[in-house]
């Protein structure tokens, strides 16, 4: 059964390894043209879920559709449209970066000439052209990570499953990764990206799916997460003046040791109002900004709710 919407859709997906229930019930929607973040603590089932989406692992129950196909039924057709980047990146150590890509291209049934051309393109894309003909074992962790990303893109898949792609990347490469992911989404691809560097995802993702103990505990857009009640940090030249004003104005705030204060605010408009009031009250405010990323706060709130 196909639906032409593409993207990723799962309902009630379940998978156990022996007695360990790795994934209990996951409902997930990732739409084409958008970057969806898969957020959850270690052991929450992110990698297992991605393996099932990539068609490598059979779910015990539940419904999985990737690019309109069920990877457990139309494995080969689905795999032709899925690019999977594993978290533990193993590579053929003695092959050169170029050979790794041409080998994968051949494994996707591409003609040798096309494969070679594609390898050049991708090496350029992930800035490994200089190292194209060095064996993979001389690459650093971050470079291998980039090679892994290039490998997932060889066959120009419609759906990208990236498991912790940012781990081991230096700041420059992270920026590149972010741009690349945005560009791929801009080209209409579905990108599902798991990471626990949440500030990274803030800037990259459109939607977020939160997993905990193998369950979907929340799905929302990053903008919605940003608009929710969350902590903002306000700082002034004179901490005393700030504290006095907050008390006088009856605003609940937590004072920090450095003299700044954390205030829970309901979105940007509330923040603007707070700033206006403070300035009007002659408090010498130097900064007002969200304390931490939207996803990070949403994630931590979830953790609290679960206690």
């Amino acid at each position: 059964m196909t639906d032409d919407e593409g993207g990723i859709r799962t309902r009630g997906v379940r998978r156990a390894f022996g007695t360990v229930q790795a994934v209990t019930s996951v409902d997930l929607d990732a739409r084409p043209g958008r970057v969806t973040a898969l957020v959850g603590p270690n052991g929450s089932g992110k990698t297992t879920l991605l393996l099932m989406l990539a068609g490598l692992l059979a779910p015990d129950a539940g419904e999985v559709r990737v690019a309109g196909l069920d990877p457990a039924v139309d494995g080969r057709a689905a795999r032709a449209r899925i690019g999977w980047m594993p978290d533990v990146f193993g590579t053929w150590e003695s092959l050169t970066a170029r050979e790794v890509l041409t080998t994968v291209a051949a494994a996707y049934r591409m003609a040798p000439d096309d494969g070679a051309r594609r390898a050049v393109e991708l090496l350029e894309l992930v800035h490994l052209t200089d190292l194209a003909d060095s064996p993979a074992h001389v690459l650093s962790r971050g470079q291998k990570q980039r090679l892994g990303l290039a490998r997932a893109l060889v066959h120009d898949p419609d759906v990208l499953l990236l498991d912790e792609p940012a781990s081991g990347l230096d700041p420059r490469s992270r920026v590149d990764l972010r741009r690349l992911v945005r560009r791929l989404a801009g080209a209409g691809k579905t990108v599902l990206i798991s990471s626990h560097v949440l500030t990274e995802l803030d800037e990259m993702a459109d939607d977020a799916v939160f997993l905990s103990q193998g369950r979907t505990v929340r799905s929302q857009s990053v903008d919605d997460a940003a608009a929710e009640l969350r902590a903002w940090r306000i700082a002034a030249l004179s901490p005393g003046a700030l504290a006095d004003w907050l008390t006088a104005a009856g605003i609940t705030a937590r004072l920090e040791v450095d003299g700044s204060a954390l205030v829970d605010l309901d979105g940007d408009e509330a923040a603007a109002a707070l700033l206006r009031d403070a300035v009007a009250a002659d408090v010498p405010v130097v900064s007002l900004a969200p304390a931490g990323g939207a996803l990070e706060q949403a994630y931590l709130r979830l953790e609290e709710e679960r206690r």
Partner: protein
């Protein structure tokens, strides 16, 4: 292959047919196999371990050939022994040594092929592509076999040297080399099968070595132990000294036919145990030398070949109890006793052995392909997909 047919028709999704990429788990394309083989060979060729192993092999076989050559030239220095025996003996020793080393090396070529890749995290990378499990398995098998053949090729100069000493038909050289190559390839296939069954490479290596050791040694032990099971008491026609002959008598006895109860070893029921032995298969691969050559022969190939052929023939219908004594033929020294001598079976033994091996090898390949099918339902203990 019936499995191919069974798996070949993967049920398409009900309703509208999705854009199907052709190929089931068992389908093979040359392009896919070549991709895997090339990948494996590239990695192997670039490892120093492999080069060192090849050099050590070359030196070891060379050394054994040299020593055999020395020993043989001493033993066969006496011209009455004939140069023919020297060539045969040297050829036999070198071929068996190459087989022995090959049986040690071949498991190491494939036993870590799948579980090693799994723990290195590179197996899932291949599985996630459009390669079929069969292509991954056959590609890996082909590359391992080519590596095994490279070892065989490194010993060909020495085998040729032994052959050049003389005494063997050209056909022996060809058939022995071909059978050696096939046996090594099958050991590779068995190793590949075990490689998908255990999580650790050491586990699959041990299982493969046990299989090879079992075929090489256990077959002989079983053949020996089964003797009482296939030994029966029967009436046998014997050519014997008359019962009433008085040994004090000066006149020679006149041998006569009579029926006697005897223990008869029916080796024709158990010879196939020997056929499963790799050394027997290789020995039997040469054309059967004539009885005359056999009587002069002291080389391992011919002795084993005759041994197994006699075993296949089974017990003789008639037995000569007068022995080869002069009175056996009534004093006529030029005549043969009237007892029909057992002849070694003309039927080939090696095809049976190879048949057993091909089944084992096919078992290895089928196991491996089944274990590499995705999406994985059950994972072997202690492994993860990626």
């Amino acid at each position: 292959m019936s499995i191919a047919a069974e798996r070949g028709t993967e049920a398409p999704a009900s309703g509208t047919t999705p854009p199907k990429v052709p190929g089931s788990d068992w389908s093979l394309s040359w392009q896919g196999v070549r991709t895997v083989t090339q990948l494996e060979l590239r990695q192997r060729i670039r490892s120093t371990r492999w080069k060192v192993a090849l050099v050590v092999w070359f030196v070891a076989v060379g050394l054994v050939t040299l020593l055999t050559s020395g020993a043989v030239s001493m033993i066969f220095a006496d011209p009455s022994m004939g140069a023919e025996g020297a060539g045969r003996t040297m050829f036999g020793v070198v071929v068996f040594f190459v087989l022995f080393l090959g049986l040690l090396v071949a498991p190491a070529l494939t036993a870590p092929a799948i579980n090693g890749d799994r723990s290195a995290g590179t197996l899932a990378t291949l599985q996630a592509t459009l390669l079929t499990p069969a292509e991954i398995v056959v590609g890996k098998l082909l590359s391992a076999w080519l590596a095994a053949l490279a070892f065989l090729a490194a010993s060909v100069p020495f085998i040729l040297w032994a052959f050049a000493v003389g005494g063997l038909p050209f056909w022996s050289l060809v058939s022995v080399l071909v059978v050696l190559g096939i046996v090594l390839g099958i050991v590779c296939a068995v190793g590949l099968g075990f490689s998908t069954l255990t999580a650790k490479t050491s586990g699959s290596a041990v299982l493969t070595y046990l299989t090879v050791g079992g075929l090489s040694v256990l077959t002989l032990v079983l053949f020996g132990l089964s003797v009482p099971l296939v030994t029966t008491t029967e009436q046998v026609r014997t050519w014997d000294v008359p019962v009433d002959y008085d040994w004090e008598d000066s006149a020679p006895p006149e041998c006569e036919w009579r029926m006697q109860e005897q223990e008869v070893f029916h080796s024709e029921r158990t010879w196939w145990l020997l056929a499963a032995n790799p050394f027997v298969i290789v020995a039997d691969a040469q054309p059967l030398p004539g009885t005359e050559e056999f009587e002069n022969a002291a080389d391992p190939l011919t002795l084993i070949q005759y041994g197994v052929r006699y075993a296949r023939t089974g017990p003789a219908a008639e037995q000569d109890w007068c022995g080869d004594m002069w009175f056996s033929t009534g004093g006529d020294l030029s005549a043969d006793p009237p007892v029909e001598e057992p002849q070694p079976s003309e039927s080939l033994v090696w095809p049976w052995g190879l048949g057993i091996y091909l089944l084992l090898g096919a078992g290895g390949v089928v196991t491996a392909v089944r274990r590499l099918r995705i999406p994985a339902q059950r994972l072997p203990k202690g492994t993860r997909v990626a």
